[in-house]
Symmetry: C2
């Protein structure tokens, strides 16, 4: 019995299509996971994420942010992150490692963990593999990430080596702590405590614990019901360190494997080089997750190199700053040239924003600071990313991925008219 189950259902070169089965539904891979930092994919209602148009099967939550606000105990008391936010589909939480690393001068890394000052109130906090696993257990995400240390993209070999070894020791501690917590959590879940909680929350015994969408149902008997834990490969741009990190991570043993520490300022060719080298060496029978990547082109290039899962803030963050991703590249909605342009953002897009609204109106909303600009651009961008992945899967299944990849890249490089 496993917490999740993943199996390949089609392959075209290194690119693979798979089915990732979780208690919260089936996820087709390659998959793009919208980022829901604070328990919300910014500007997007959950009904919209669930709609046939977007049909996001899994979203990401940030342990660091949720731990600070509203706090792990609050979320635990409210019945876990799914229940707290009202999302019944799958959730992946990161470990907080990358976020505290990003704090730069505000954090101090030791063998034990990372001491840092909260970006909210400046209070001193401490995050370690054990704390991260405890917080993620309280959140109750379907996929938990091991606590890792990220080296700068251009780290020297020696620095990157030490960092990678620390990540490896933290991975062992993450695994150990996670396993102990799972026993605790699941005895709790099945026990009296769980019944009391459900009764307090005015839940029927299985309410909101089962997705209402029959397309997403997985027979429970296949799965253990526990959380899954993914390990993370580090090593900056050094391929020997990446290989060593992979072998150490696989030795510990995880339900899936991630490549971390990319898309942090290095050259694009470095990222593609690491993925090309490492992805094919990763266990074939486990999902491969490239963290924090990337543009639509990056997704396709890395699917071509064997990656199954992605997450990135680009569609949501850039949507809020007025940038639309389209089949002909990026469009900046602020530009004066759109002031009376009655064409949709993307003439090849059939999302509800492109069917209803035109550039002139979207520009007006952006220029006047209207919230609807962010809502609509975020929606279009998510639709574009999710639809691109749908087309990627279709192309792989029909053995047509090479042509799809070429035509897609030609399109995005052809420029906005």
């Amino acid at each position: 019995m496993q917490p999740i189950k993943w199996e390949i259902c089609a392959q075209d070169g290194e690119a693979r299509c798979g089915l990732l089965k979780t208690r919260r539904g089936v996820i087709e891979t390659p998959v793009f996971m919208p980022v829901g930092t604070l328990g919300t994919v910014k500007g997007t209602r959950f009904e919209t994420l669930e709609s046939a148009e977007l049909d996001a099967r899994i979203i990401l939550g940030n342990t660091y942010h949720l731990w600070l606000r509203p706090g792990a105990e609050t979320i635990r008391e409210c019945g876990g992150l799914h229940r707290f936010i009202g999302w019944e589909r799958a959730l992946l939480t990161d470990s907080g490692g990358f976020q505290v690393w990003s704090l730069g001068a505000l954090r101090k890394i030791s063998e034990e963990g990372t001491e840092f000052r909260s970006h909210i109130d400046g209070s001193l906090r401490f995050l370690s593999p054990e704390v991260s696993m405890q917080v993620q257990a309280a959140l109750g995400s379907d996929i938990v990430m091991a606590f890792d240390e990220c080296a700068p993209g251009k780290a020297e070999h020696e620095v990157a080596h030490a960092s990678m070894l620390l990540t490896s020791r933290w991975a062992e501690r993450s695994r150990k702590s996670f396993d102990a917590l799972q026993k605790e959590v699941w005895s709790l879940e099945s026990g009296v405590e769980s019944q009391r909680l459900k009764s307090e929350l005015h839940l029927t015994p299985d309410s909101r614990l089962r997705t209402p969408d029959s397309r997403l149902q997985t027979p429970d008997s296949e799965l253990s019901g526990a959380q899954a834990l993914f390990g993370i490969v580090q090593g900056a741009a050094h391929l020997d360190l990446r290989r060593e990190s992979l072998s150490r991570t696989v030795e510990i043993g995880f339900d899936g494997y991630a490549i971390g520490g990319l898309s942090v300022g290095e050259e694009k060719s470095v990222m593609y080089g690491v993925v090309e080298e490492i992805a094919p060496l990763m266990p074939e029978e486990r999902p491969r997750y490239l963290m924090g990547v990337g543009t639509p082109e990056d997704l396709i290039e890395c699917v071509a190199r064997g990656v199954d899962m992605f997450d990135c803030v680009l569609p949501t963050r850039n949507g809020r700053t007025g940038q639309a991703f389209t089949s002909r590249g990026r469009l900046n909605v602020k530009n004066a040239q759109w002031a009376r342009d009655m064409r949709p953002l993307d003439e090849n897009c059939s999302c509800s924003v492109c069917r209803r609204h035109e550039r002139a109106y979207l520009r007006h909303l952006y220029i006047t600071g209207e919230m609807l600009a962010s809502i609509l651009l975020t929606h279009h961008n998510l639709a574009f990313f999710l639809d691109t992945m749908r087309r990627v899967r279709q192309a792989i299944r029909s053995g047509d991925f090479t042509r799809f990849r070429r035509e897609f890249l030609e399109g995005v490089n052809s420029g906005i008219a």
Copy 2:
């Protein structure tokens, strides 16, 4: 042939139910119109406004704001406000009179009109009955408001009298200018120019000019297809002035009549007093519109006094500042007491926000500054206002309005638990 058609279909005391037929669909009255200042009901997608849950049949646009940004010419070139914003149902535009009046020190009122400085760039602008009618013709709203002058709620008799007489002269000029423009617009609409525009906009001859929702269809033959013009009754708190204003306005003749200049700082009893005196004197066969009002209690109290139409920013604006309207009064979502409260905003509400989300999460969203807080609170508030009006209509139709009114007021005064 009239531009719109309104008929009473039920009455209970002074309270009336009616059907307002427009080329853009049928509107059941009493009706609440959400405010879409800049061509967007803030934080709300049009699909949501159209959904069975909200089913807003008519929204309001602000002439002042749209005139400044993106400008009347831009909207005209984009095919009018409906086409520009992607809303096929009915639109009412105010005249800009109230907004420029609200600018206070930034405006100077003369017989000719109002000179003011734009709140955007400080540029000097001039708004008059003629300009307002031209802008509203360019916007192409279904209901146009006459250009009026608003007196302060506590204006002395002499000041209010002069102001009311000015409004009356402006009403005559509005009517004259409007009638001339209608001839122009409708010869344009039916002519070659219209075909060229539609072809430029890649529209089929009748695309986006007809609502797709069969519930809203009105046989075109009943209506002239022109815009409708409403007159506005002013006179501050002085009932004799209000009566004189009404008689002057009715003498000019309009498709509907509005009470303006209330809810501008006067005591609530003054507002109710004016409405109670004036509404029953207004032409029985025309819709009566109380501008800029109000709280749910105000809506019900003024329906009881014979008003048919309302607009107000309260549900949207207060939603953005964390206030929810509920069947037990107002709830401030910021309050610490909700931090772990797993009850919906309103336990008697069946809107999609109350069905899915709880106070703890909504508070978290608000505290962390997440856009979704505004989106969800606005949605709940609009649902509450629109559903309240639905229940008001039902109560009138079943002759049960007195009981409904009493129970509703008891509810909102009972306090949040």
